[in-house]
């Protein structure tokens, strides 16, 4: 860690002596651990530590980037030169920013020292225990494809020529199990997961219950006749839908004509029951952080309130262009990426009914528990989606037989308007973006293609 800090200083010192303009170093480093157990033995085991540095420089108003994972002092001039060369070919006329720091920063809890005391042996034992429990849960579970524990910690450092000097560390632990069920002919797998920021988040029973349930329930799943159907997106499926289309709330996409929400701030874009907030300042969220990728302080932003679009999500460049303040949503896909925009902890506000009550209200229809093919069957620019789905039929207000081999199609902008009622069973997405959402009952029927 201290080595990285020193290396960052050396880059800044070199840039100070050799370049004009404003410049910044963004460093990410950390370590991760992964163990996967099969038949009580360690099938895969992986440990690593990693570090990478991105340097950016603003020259003649244009921003150029270069990055390296090689901490060789002789490479510093090349790093700085590459970023300067890149700046020289940029044509984007929008004003660029190297930030000097926010007045005040929130301090959400994102690092739990307790997790550092969980040993590799304990994680291996947990993976073994989870596998045993999954196999014992039901005679139809013939094996466990994967029982895995992952953990990691990471640190972000931002230092620049305007005096900003920020550092934040976070850690986590998670586990997942993939049990395989068979009825003698067909096989089917399920996925159960648990995790969070303290030892107690490693809850084998919770992961096994979900994974085994999925594996068994869908063994005899069948398709349905193609028809328009009433739909409930179960909480985790709703999280996946929101994650796939969260980019429509990015001001960068809106300013580039890649979101249909451009110019709609203040307008009704969703049903009255829809409120969406972005809040990196909560303790121990998967998207919690004190500052964003430009060093702007994190803050709570109500994006959609009772169906009205209050604001898009901004970084410094897009906020300046729109004449508003940054919402602190600058992000980097990885340390090498240029600055973009993404959500932090993005939450669809819950309602009052349980999933069972929502099903009762729906009467006849389909609970969708899983959508797949999101990277292919969903177009974030148009909002159109057509996704392979799994779930349960609902008949007479009760959850019935399992359904697979169907696709559900529609448009996300229309979906937002078509939400009839959110439930109370909030799910927190653990991998990918930190989306939280309850199950959601849709109003008008949606297209379900099957047989």
């Amino acid at each position: 860690m201290s080595n990285i800090n020193e290396f960052c200083k050396k880059i800044l010192d070199y840039a100070k002596e050799n370049c004009g303009g404003e410049y910044e170093v963004y460093a990410a480093n950390g370590e991760s651990f992964r163990v996967e157990v099969l038949d009580g033995q360690i099938k895969n085991y992986s440990v690593n530590d990693y570090a990478g540095i991105s340097f950016r420089i603003k020259k003649n108003g244009k921003m150029g980037y270069a990055s390296t994972s090689s901490f060789d002092e002789d490479g510093i001039p090349e790093l700085v030169r590459a970023a300067s060369d890149n700046a020289a070919i940029i044509e984007n006329p929008d004003e660029q920013f190297i930030f000097s720091g926010s007045e005040k920063y929130p301090s959400p809890k994102v690092y739990n020292e307790e997790l550092d005391t969980v040993t590799a042996e304990e994680k291996i034992e947990f993976a073994k225990e989870m596998e045993i429990k999954a196999k014992a849960a039901d005679p139809r579970i013939i094996k466990v494809e994967s029982s895995t524990v992952i953990s990691g910690k990471s640190t972000v450092i931002i230092k620049n020529s305007n005096g900003m000097d920020l550092c934040e560390s976070s850690n986590y632990v998670a586990a997942y199990v993939v049990p395989i069920a068979s009825d003698g002919e067909k096989m089917n797998d399920g996925f159960g997961v648990c995790g969070g920021f303290d030892r107690s988040c490693l809850d084998a029973d919770k992961a096994v219950k979900k994974g085994v349930g999925e594996a068994i329930d869908f063994l005899d799943a069948r398709s349905v006749k193609s028809a328009p159907m009433r739909i409930i997106f179960r909480n985790s499926a709703m999280c996946d839908m929101i994650e796939t289309f969260s980019g429509i709330f990015s001001s960068e996409n809106a300013q580039r004509g890649l979101s249909m929400l451009a110019g709609k701030e203040g307008e009704k874009i969703a049903a009255d029951c829809v409120t969406l907030t972005d809040d990196p300042t909560t303790d121990f969220g998967f998207g919690s952080r004190a500052f964003d990728a430009e060093g702007v302080a994190g803050r709570r932003t109500v994006v959609v309130e009772n169906g009205t679009l209050k604001t898009l999500l901004y970084n410094l460049e897009t906020a300046h262009k729109a004449g508003v303040e940054s919402t602190g949503n600058a992000s980097k896909g990885g340390y090498t990426s240029p600055i973009g925009i993404s959500v932090s902890n993005f939450t669809l506000t819950q309602g009052e009914k349980t999933l069972e009550q929502l099903a009762g209200k729906m009467g006849e229809g389909l609970i969708i528990t899983e959508v797949s093919g999101l990277h292919a069957g969903a177009n974030a620019v148009t909002g159109d989606f057509s996704l392979m789905a799994k779930g349960y039929l609902v008949e007479g207000g009760k959850q019935g037989r399992a359904v697979n081999g169907v696709t559900v199609s529609g448009n996300f902008y229309e979906l937002l308007k078509n939400i009839e009622e959110p439930g109370c069973d909030v799910y927190r997405n653990m991998f990918g973006e930190a989306i939280s959402a309850p199950s959601v009952l849709m109003g008008k029927p949606m297209s379900v293609a099957g047989e």
Partner: protein
């Protein structure tokens, strides 16, 4: 890249606690990208990524340790970490003799991309970009990118091999958005190769840009695709994503070796219509998915996966080889040093058949012509797949009729393979990125035009 003496010490250290195989992988990659949006160069990035990984096997169990350091001290630390995790404490005497093995390159950069002035790259990108933008008034936005990289790889393993490989990659990508003010539609092209800047010189850049815009514009005027089961004619090139998803992933040792594939134990059996033959060929010159050496230090091969409908081969890496008791086919690949390698596809395609395109269309009374495919995904265990149709048309009375959008194809791989009833003679490859347990890698899909007699099409229900 690494002294032989150092590699030997690292491998011996890694095996010191009882491992029966060890492998050192070192990588140094430089990459360069420039991208455009809103008619101007918006982003330019240069990256150097260097790192190493040490992997050991104890039977069919695997331990992997990786990090950024590639000096002797760092590599020895990685070896110690890996060895510590094995700790079977079985101390066998290890005879290790390393020999350099030469792999004849299959991908060469005649004009290394990093030797080309940035302005020349920008000019090439602009040619494609503005051809898309100026295609018509409905094109409201275009995104374009030109990225290139050069990857140097060193592998030393306890099978006694020291091997190196150099891999150049280059790819142009143009994405166009057409809008009528109420709705958006998009189109994409992304030609790439295992080559240098000469690849870009060989492209008709304007035609590439116009093609992205043409797809977006056509789809803007398309009605919604009807849903249900129907015959589907799939275009060549990226249409091969159906085979990649529906069959290719389930033929990787990653799933077969653990008994998690519908194709386990099916060698020598009929799994596809007799018109279907398919191969995975990493040895093709200059192709996007090609490489001379696997990421495990083995020579790559042309693997016959299916011959006249009969399953004839799997794609197997070293660990898969141990699990399956079959020889490795040199299929071990990884995104970079941050991933342990596993069996992956390279250039994977359905071979040319004897049918003619026009006969396939005219012989189809009613169905969907999926002219251009988007991406997709599959569950290798159940064979269930889905993929998106980027450009589609209805077929009625043996003729291609109106364009339709929003179609997805879903089904089970083993069913679709049997339902391919016509295969034309116009094989073309298409470039994509494939994501799996060892990361995101360059793969070619490919096929001639084929017909699937019946498959579920997801779309709009009247």
């Amino acid at each position: 890249m690494i002294e032989k003496r150092v590699s030997e010490s690292v491998l011996l250290k890694a095996m010191s606690t009882g491992a029966d195989y060890a492998e050192l992988y070192v990588e140094d990659t430089t990459s360069d990208s420039v991208s455009m949006i809103a008619d101007c160069v918006d982003s330019a990035n240069t990256a150097r990524d260097r790192g190493a990984g040490v992997r050991i096997f104890c039977g069919t169990n695997s331990v992997y340790a990786y990090g950024n350091g590639t000096d002797e001290k760092s590599l020895m630390e990685l070896a110690a970490k890996a060895a510590a995790a094995a700790s079977t404490a079985r101390s066998a005497k290890i005879d290790l003799v390393l020999n350099e093995v030469k792999f004849d390159p299959v991908c060469r950069a005649e004009i290394p991309a990093d030797s080309v002035e940035k302005k020349i790259k920008v000019d090439a990108l602009k040619e494609a970009y503005f051809a898309a933008k100026e295609y018509g008034e409905e094109i409201v936005q275009v995104r374009g990118g030109l990225s290139s990289s050069s990857k140097r790889i060193y592998v030393a393993n306890s099978d006694g091999v020291i091997g190196t490989d150099e891999r150049p990659y280059i790819r142009l990508a143009v994405s166009a958005v057409a809008s009528d003010g109420k709705e958006n539609q998009s189109g994409f092209v992304g030609p790439g190769g295992g080559a240098g800047f000469e690849f870009v010189r060989g492209l008709d850049l304007k035609a590439e840009g116009r093609e992205a815009a043409r797809i977006a514009t056509t789809m803007l005027h398309a009605g919604k695709c009807p849903a249900g089961k129907m015959a589907v004619v799939m275009g060549n090139a990226f249409g091969g994503v159906v085979f990649h998803e529906a069959c290719g992933h389930a033929l990787e040792a990653t799933s077969v070796g653990l008994g998690n594939s519908v194709f386990c134990g099916k060698l020598g059996q009929k799994i596809a219509n007799e018109k279907v033959s398919a191969v995975d060929d990493a040895t093709m010159t200059g192709e996007w998915g090609s490489r001379a050496m696997s990421d495990e230090g083995e020579k790559t091969e042309r693997i016959q996966l299916i011959k006249d409908g009969i399953l004839t081969g799997y794609m197997i890496d070293k660990l898969g080889s141990r699990r399956m008791n079959m020889r490795s086919t040199g299929s071990g690949r990884r995104q970079n040093y941050a991933f342990a390698p596993t069996s992956r596809m390279s250039n994977t395609f359905i071979c040319a058949g004897n049918d003619k395109r026009e006969d396939i269309i005219s012989g189809t009374e009613y169905g969907l012509f999926a002219s251009k495919m988007g991406g997709g995904s599959v569950n290798p265990l159940t064979g269930e797949f889905n993929f998106a149709v980027m450009e589609g048309y209805m077929i009625r009375g043996g003729r291609i009729c109106e364009p339709v959008r929003g179609a997805t194809l879903i089904g089970k791989g083993y069913e679709v393979l049997l339902n391919i009833d016509m295969v034309s003679d116009d094989l073309v490859l298409g470039q994509g990125m494939c994501g799996s347990v060892s990361g995101s890698i360059q793969t070619n899909v490919g096929q001639p035009m084929i017909r699937i007699s019946e498959i579920t099409v997801g779309g709009e229900i009247e």
